[in-house]
Subunit: 235 residues, 2 copies
């Protein structure tokens, strides 16, 4: 796979910048709808309003475009949820933070995660979380990039937070597994979206429904942190 990512014409300001941008937006839309394999260069070019040849020209190949979309996703995510993670890391470094505040940070982040992951109105968040979820499920060559881009940051920070709350080692299997069970309570609403919507008699996730989900999940998290703190479940 060669990602040429053709740079600007010499001495000139990015002539093909708009074509590039339109292709990335189209990629976000099409890849989120039908996945990498399902997306044809023809549909991508049509959605972007550019010619098919623009894809190999600007991105080297269909795969190059996909990788560029991944980079866009990581950047978007960092701008939106990265700040919260930084804030958490800062609080973890600051030894004066109280246990109650740590718990509030964890709950707050999970709440924002629910909205980011389940939101369907703002197209960009929705598209990103679909692509990410699909890439998680069966990784393509772009997985590594996505993994480094945010799986690690998110999980490592949450694990550190959970470890602090439970007064355990953040590197322990136990803390890592507990953190996964917390994330799973959010992600199932995405990964089993159709089933859940059908069961609930919902057409889509709207604000009120996301709030209901967030309320249950944060309640669960509070209960679980309390329970795990009391009993030592060494793995």
């Amino acid at each position: 796979m060669k990602t040429k990512t053709r740079s600007a014409a010499p001495g000139r300001l990015e002539r093909g910048a708009t074509a590039r941008q339109k292709l990335i937006e189209a990629g976000l839309k099409i890849y989120s709808e039908v996945g990498f394999k399902g997306a044809s260069t023809r549909s991508l070019a049509a959605a972007a309003g550019v010619n098919i040849a623009a894809i190999p020209y600007y991105f080297g190949s269909k795969e190059g475009l996909y990788l560029a979309v991944m980079d866009h996703i990581i950047e978007y995510y960092r701008k939106n949820l990265g700040g919260d993670l930084d804030q958490i890391r800062q609080a973890l470094d600051d030894k004066k933070t109280s246990p109650a505040e740590y718990l509030a940070l964890l709950e707050g982040y999970i709440c924002r995660l629910v909205h980011f992951v389940l939101q369907e109105k703002s197209t960009e968040c929705a598209q990103i979380s679909i692509i990410y979820t699909r890439e998680q499920m069966d990784p393509t060559s772009a997985f590594q990039r996505l993994y480094e881009g945010f799986s690690t940051g998110l999980r490592e920070t949450l694990e550190a937070l959970v470890a602090t709350i439970l007064e355990r080692d953040a590197q322990s299997s136990e803390v890592k597994l507990i953190t996964e069970t917390l994330l799973g309570q959010v992600t199932i609403f995405k990964s089993s979206r159709v089933t859940v919507l059908k069961k609930m008699g919902w057409g889509t996730y709207d604000e009120k429904r996301m709030a209901d989900i967030a309320r249950i999940v944060t309640f669960n998290i509070r209960a679980l942190m309390q329970a795990h703190k009391q009993k030592d479940t060494t793995v």
Copy 2:
């Protein structure tokens, strides 16, 4: 889509039965590896050791084979986890069951689910859960069949169980959402399999690791049932 499912030759005992069966086994393998779109009739026929033309002949089309594989999956699942669900339903009808027993039933079922879903040694379970998870994430035309085949049975039974334990209405949004958060704690280990394995430094889910996961999840379930029973979190 026409699913001819060509029946036996008149008066003769299923001549092409073995070809059908080999194709279904191959379908289970190939579809689980690369998904429906990723599977070519060539690879399916090669894996089954039959000719490409056998697919349209016996199943009408590539999609017909996929649907036949779905039916196989449902049947397999019913044979393996359906009995447990029947037992739970029976216990729910039997008014003499104690609260502690209901909790034990819930925990026991979730444990078996962990093993069924995460198991990687027994190929059939692993293949089934991969196909099912993928179908959940982006449903094809076969989703309806799968949904009726086991999503409903599993969820309805677990919801009834949760409702009984919490002494709430099984039809309430609250009970349904809580049940999803329980399931999510299991499914994330499948839907984020690669990330989790990487984070944990594991190569695969083996017996010990599944036991560790099951221990955390059952502990969580016990804690959550207790917490929700105490506090009323009306949605």
